[in-house]
Every structure is written in structure tokens, then in C-alpha cells.
Symmetry: C2
Subunit: 151 residues, 2 copies
């Protein structure tokens, strides 16, 4: 799976193409906040603590990549809202995977908080690796290869 | 969930802490290749097409972060192998999430290849969002919030 920086967006690898769109810290933290309900420039800035010019350039790129659409804010005509598109919302799976790994590997003790679905109030379940026929795979036993799908 | 660049590794957010370790393109592409079996500097360089100095600095950082350990290569005493640790292998879940999103959103048609488990030859199943009690959630309906776990 080749994917050098110059051709990441054209690589034959779906991971490389994803990274060409969302592959930097700031973009992922902006999307994390948006998945939690943030929509306004000022909200992102407050939550992430990011310089205005960097936040502005990342949001512009994410709009170009159709992760966000810009909508008017009904409270004020001069304020925009950055609203996640369908493909933006699908990044929740990536975020949960990052959360899970961080929870397991980046905190000294067990975390007493986790990600939840706000509407139902339920915690999100852990995501596990399984083969298409439903067999659980321990990541320690996996060698992950690219393979042609059966027609 | 605050997490500015200076304190990403100390943020209270598991996503921010994950990104402080693996949050750049190159690191993720190196780990992708390692999950497929690559272990030698020359293999990473060939697959990713990355300048030696950048590859070298990323590998060093990933060893410091305990994603890889360095082992001797039995074929030659001057060659090292970069072997994924347990926490490195657990990143397979993040990689599958990135692949899945890229497959859905970054290719014009349907991909005729996907990620598989080499030993069994089986394709990996899609990961879906579910609440802890087993209810599937459409990402479009999710607002992802941080919540205290019940004791």
C-alpha cells in the first residue's frame, strides 16, 4: 500500500486517502468537538484553545473536503455555523476507535468517564475486530492485509 | 474536552492523548505497514516512499512511545527490526476505522478490495456504533458526549 505525501489523496489505500483529509491533530480535534455538538467558530476556539488563523484554515479545508457545510446562524446574520455533513458524522467510528485506544493506553489508571450517546444517555460499546463471518480476532493475532473481495 | 497542542498528552480526553502519540500522517502510515507485517527500515521506506531522515525520526518517536520495540534481525547484526508492541497492535481498530471511512468516502466507485486477516484469509467485518446494551446507532443520529461511567 503505497501512499507518499504528494499522492496520499490518490493512493490505492483507503487509510492513506482518509489521512489526506483528516490526518492532522487539529482537524481531528475540531471534528471531535463537532460530534459533541459544537458548531460556532467561537465554540471550537474555546474548547480546543487554538489560534484563530490556524482554526480558520483548518475549518476552510474541512469545508472544502465536505466534512462541514456552512450554514447561517439564526441568532445573528454575521455568525456562521459549521455543520457536519453525513461523511463528517461517519467519522464518529474513527473517533470512538481513537478514544478506546487512548483510554486503554494513555491513562495510568482506569478512566471513570467514557463516550456516550447523548439522546439515549447510554455509553457507547467498545468496538472489536471481527471477521466477516463473526469470529472475534485478538489484535495481537492479526496480520492485516489487503485482499480482493469475492464477487 | 480541552486539548491544545502544548498539553495534548495531558488532556483529559482520550482522543487528544491518542493523537499526541500517533497523530500525524507518517506515524499512522508506518503503523499501517507494520500491521501488514513490515519490520525493517528498508521495507517502510519502500512502501511509504518517505525520506530517510523523516522515517528515522518518526520511528524513533514511536519507539519512545512504546508502539514499537527494536529487535535484532537474525539475518544480519547491523539490521534492526521494528516490532509492534501490544499497544501498537491494538491500533488495528483505529486503522480499520480509517480504512472503512476512506472506503466509503474517498473512492468514486465501490472498492473491490478490503482489509483481511492473513491467517484465516477472511475479510474483516465493518465496525458499527452500538450502545453498551447492544443497540445499533446510525452515526447521523449520534451526538457523542463524555459521560461518567456508572460505578
Amino acid at each position: 500500500m503505497r501512499g507518499s505525501k504528494t499522492d496520499l489523496a490518490q493512493a490505492d489505500c483507503a487509510i492513506a486517502r482518509s489521512l489526506s483529509i483528516i490526518g492532522d491533530w487539529w482537524s481531528l480535534l475540531i471534528i471531535r468537538d463537532a460530534l459533541g455538538g459544537s458548531q460556532r467558530f467561537s465554540e471550537f476556539q474555546k474548547n480546543i484553545g487554538l489560534a484563530k488563523n490556524i482554526l480558520s484554515s483548518r475549518l476552510r479545508k474541512l469545508v472544502q473536503s465536505e466534512i462541514f457545510t456552512i450554514e447561517d446562524d439564526h441568532s445573528s446574520p454575521s455568525v456562521h455555523r459549521y455543520v457536519l455533513t453525513g461523511r463528517g458524522k461517519q467519522l464518529a467510528v474513527v473517533m470512538l476507535a481513537l478514544w478506546q485506544w487512548g483510554e486503554d493506553n494513555c491513562f495510568p489508571g482506569k478512566l471513570d468517564y467514557g463516550l456516550a450517546d447523548e439522546a439515549s444517555g447510554k455509553m457507547l460499546a467498545r468496538m472489536e475486530l471481527e471477521t466477516a463471518d463473526g469470529r472475534r480476532i485478538d489484535p495481537h493475532d492479526l496480520r492485516m492485509v489487503v485482499k480482493m473481495k469475492r464477487k
